[in-house]
């Protein structure tokens, strides 16, 4: 058994010491003398959150299949331990071998959301790795970033040696081989990074020069050397059923947020909602073979002992063999006491039937991601759900015994008007009326509850709304109050509830999401002022961000409030995410005209993803 990196005195004085000791079931053990390359994979948040993320489990499994590589895990030390580590100069360590991260060849960090940027700096800092990539030498750990935020990694460009753009399954072998050469030879760090930039999907930010116009917009982004590619193509697995998948995921002792087997059934989404970055950057939609998934489900349940399984995809209702897969999972519930947790399915007769078999109707609620209140605005955002769908689905559900409905909306969407906002309250009211019409008084059990919640729309790169201005925080709050008042005027107001997200974090996400390299300095300064765990409301301090931006002469409105011109060069234009700028621009036009675009299965829109040569683009079309 490996001795913990932390002393007993420390472990007994911090919250949940189990976060830091490793030794979980299915943890991979290797001898350090048997491997050439050591990789630490990091999710920059607390253990229970990080352990719930499927991506690292996939990469951990994939790397550890290689005999020459040992991949270990590391998560953000909670502030209680962070403080002790700084006071006592304890370097950040991995879970598996409890050894310092700075002894690893590579530190891989998944970048899932903008508010974890300060946590990434915490990880690099506590590891004792020089904070800025330019200050690192041959002996220093290579720092590589991956995950959704890397489609615009520019605000973090100074801190990373490399970014891996896209799905890990394609190019990492080539990178590891190059690292082996780098370690064994006299190759300099510069030479290594130069050669790494030739590998598909590897973006080395230091090899690009960015110039700016007088108005602050980007003038050019160009490679510093002729052999460095002008564009970095996001990597995509085309043969999705052949890709490796972790059959023996690590099982935490602590209750992780995802305390269950997670079965990935599909990547990508055919729907093309215009606000949704995931729906654009994970194209083309690819499905896994259903028989294989059944086998995976069985094997993973056996290897972990989990009592629950859930499906992972962006839109499970679009998985073509869902019927077959769910029947199988329901049979497991009966034969092996496996609970099935369903992802948000489109509400119809089929899904209600399935849900009634796996959920306690009395306790569960139905969810509609309506996203906008009016049909007009739903057309603008290309959310292919109609009021009729929602009302029919609710009525069937009420008849089936449900009496709780959740509605998700966004506010601050492009072209949103007062009518669209009023429609949020009216839709909730109409659903409650369906209840009173569908369920006779004597069958009513307590009160029907319609819980509507609204988040604050943040325009993201590689979506048709990347040109759109973000609504200001004061305006957002004003609109939220307007909707809240509208709810209070509804007839069934006692059955309706409306909540909305705090505007502060969203506006910062807006700055960082479409930010450029000039923000690196501010992020560094924000971290230096002690900001960490900013995705946690108990630690987040808005003023630290606002003050620092001010000190660095960063105009937040420049990043959020402007409508960008069609000609503008974006800070992320050298990343090729698969969808073309021409397609996104057409979709931006369609949004302005309120024109609905059919989904990928109905009619190919020529978004550019067909170039990958797989998935829905090549499924037989009728």
């Amino acid at each position: 058994m490996v001795k913990p990196a932390l002393s007993e005195r420390i472990l007994m004085n911090i919250e949940k010491p189990a976060r830091y000791i490793g030794n979980e079931v299915n943890m991979v053990k290797k001898n350090l003398s048997d491997v050439d390359i050591r990789i630490a994979m990091c999710f920059p948040d607390v253990y229970e959150i990080g352990m719930s993320y499927l991506g690292i489990q996939i990469i951990y499994d994939m790397f550890n299949w290689r005999e020459d590589t040992y991949c270990e895990r590391v998560y953000s030390p909670w502030p209680d331990l962070d403080k002790i580590m700084r006071e006592e100069h304890i370097p950040l360590f991995s879970l598996e071998t409890q050894s310092p991260i700075k002894d690893f060849d590579m530190l891989g960090i998944t970048i899932q959301y903008e508010m974890c940027y300060t946590n990434i700096l915490q990880i690099i800092d506590l590891s004792g790795i020089p904070m800025f990539a330019r200050d690192r030498g041959k002996g220093d750990t290579l720092v590589i970033g991956g995950g959704p935020c890397t489609v615009n990694p520019e605000p973090m460009a100074d801190f990373f040696d490399m970014f891996y753009i896209g799905e890990a399954e394609t190019s990492y072998d080539e990178l590891i081989e190059l690292m082996k050469v780098y370690k064994k030879t006299e190759m300099t760090r510069e030479e290594f990074l130069r050669r790494a930039s030739h590998i598909a999907g590897i973006y080395v930010p230091s090899l690009y020069e960015v110039t700016y116009n007088e108005d602050g917009t980007v003038s050019s982004i160009s490679p510093k050397y002729a052999d460095v590619p002008e564009k970095i193509k996001r990597q995509v697995v085309t043969d999705f059923s052949k890709v490796s998948y972790p059959m023996t995921p690590v099982v935490p002792y602590l209750k992780a947020t995802q305390d269950r087997v997670c079965l990935e059934i599909m990547r990508g989404c055919i729907r093309g909602c215009r606000f949704c970055q995931a729906g654009m950057i994970y194209r083309p939609t690819r499905q896994k073979d259903v028989d294989m998934l059944k086998e995976y489900a069985k094997k993973m349940l056996d290897a972990t002992g989990y009592e629950e399984i859930s499906l992972s995809s962006l839109s499970s209702s679009d998985y073509e063999q869902l019927d077959d897969l769910l029947s199988y999972l329901i049979s497991l519930k009966e034969s092996a006491h496996v609970n099935v947790s369903l992802p948000s399915l489109r509400i119809d007769a089929f899904s209600l039937d399935v849900m009634s078999k796996v959920q306690d109707i009395k306790k569960s609620s139905l969810t509609f991601a309506a996203e906008a209140g009016s049909q007009r605005l739903r057309n603008i955002i290309n959310k292919g759900i109609t009021e009729e769908d929602i009302l029919n689905g609710s009525r069937q559900a009420f008849i089936g015994g449900w009496d709780k409905v959740k509605l998700y909306f966004m506010m601050g969407l492009p072209f949103e008007t007062e009518e669209d906002l009023l429609a949020i309250a009216e839709l909730a009211e109409k659903i409650s009326e369906e209840y009173f019409a569908a369920v006779p008084r004597e069958q009513r059990n307590g009160r029907v509850m319609i819980n509507a919640s609204a988040s604050y729309f943040v325009p993201k790169p590689f979506t048709p709304f990347q040109w759109a201005p973000m609504t200001g925080p004061e305006e957002f709050t004003k609109r939220a109050h307007f909707v809240k008042d509208a709810f209070a005027r509804q007839r069934n107001k006692k059955s309706l509830k409306f909540t909305y997200h705090d505007a502060g974090i969203s506006i910062l996400e807006g700055v960082l999401a479409r930010g450029d390299r000039r923000l690196c300095k501010s992020i560094y300064d924000i971290y230096k002022k002690g900001a960490m765990f900013d995705a946690w409301t108990e630690f987040f301090n808005m003023d630290t961000y606002l003050d620092t931006f001010k000190e660095n002469h960063v105009d937040m409105d420049f990043y959020t409030a402007r409508e960008r011109s069609e000609e503008e060069i974006f800070p992320w234009d050298h990343i090729d995410a698969g969808v073309s700028k021409g397609f996104l621009l057409r979709e931006w036009q369609n949004a302005k005209e309120g024109k609905v675009t059919p989904n990928c299965r109905m009619n190919c829109q020529g978004c550019g993803s067909a170039a990958y040569g797989g998935g829905v683009c090549f499924e037989a079309k009728n």
């Binding site: 058994m1 002393s7 007993e8 007994m12 972990t304 002992g305």
Partner: protein, 235 residues
């Protein structure tokens, strides 16, 4: 069929809390494919119950839980299957079959014995000095210590609940052996006794200079204590 399962918890697993150990075993039973019984209802759970909860930081070679099983094979087969799916540091030591009317292990626990030894991070002779003051402490008529419960703090005499205490060698280490009351009726934590020893020896109480290992958990009454597994029979 009711079984009583004895296990040990050592090494870094001392930092895994009691609730997490319970969740750990629920999964382990499934990995081992044992035919455990489930409760009825919409979200059925395994019918298992644990004996004495173990404080964070303590290791043990005498922990127990009881489980209701639909079908069983042999004790050795079930033990092998469980041990094939254990994490390093946790091991099943014994399985016995309980009579149908057996009381739950939690209700039966009445005493535990412990071995107190030097923490390998400690660099002083703390344990030796504690050991040296055992006789003097035990020669007193009463040993009054401040006992804290969730609701109150009061001085209480713990001497009647120290069934045995002596210098001891265990697993090649020198330390202190204590046999103390534990369970729902009277629970005397080893650290209270250590605190009393420290006070008597005139040294400051220091929680990181020693470690506690529970050797065994017992049922029955003073003079007739028996390990929890003796309630069952081999199968």
């Amino acid at each position: 069929m009711k079984l009583r399962i004895k296990y040990e918890k050592t090494g870094v697993l001392r930092f895994i809390g009691h609730l997490d150990v319970m969740r750990y075993f629920q999964k382990a039973i499934r990995r081992a494919k044992l035919d455990v019984a489930y409760s009825k209802g919409f979200s059925p759970h395994q019918i298992i119950s644990f004996a004495a909860p173990m404080p964070l930081g303590m290791t043990s070679s005498g922990e127990y839980f009881d489980g209701e099983f639909v079908s069983v094979t042999s004790a050795s087969d079930m033990m092998n299957r469980l041990n094939a799916v254990m994490a390093e540091g946790i091991r099943v030591l014994d399985i016995t079959q309980l009579p149908d009317k057996a009381k739950s292990s939690m209700a039966e626990v009445s005493a535990s014995d412990y071995f107190i030894y030097k923490n390998d991070e400690s660099e002083n002779d703390y344990i030796d000095r504690l050991t040296a003051s055992i006789d003097a402490l035990m020669s007193k008529d009463e040993i009054n210590v401040l006992k804290k419960t969730k609701t109150k703090e009061e001085m209480s005499d713990i001497k009647p609940y120290i069934y045995e205490i002596k210098g001891f060698e265990y697993d090649m280490a020198e330390g202190i052996y204590m046999f103390l009351a534990s369970g729902s009726r009277m629970n005397l934590k080893p650290e209270l006794v250590i605190g009393a020893l420290a006070e008597h020896a005139g040294i400051e109480y220091s929680p990181y200079d020693y470690r506690v290992h529970r050797i065994e958990t017992y049922m029955g009454e003073e003079g007739a204590f028996a390990p929890l597994y003796t309630a069952g029979k081999k199968f």
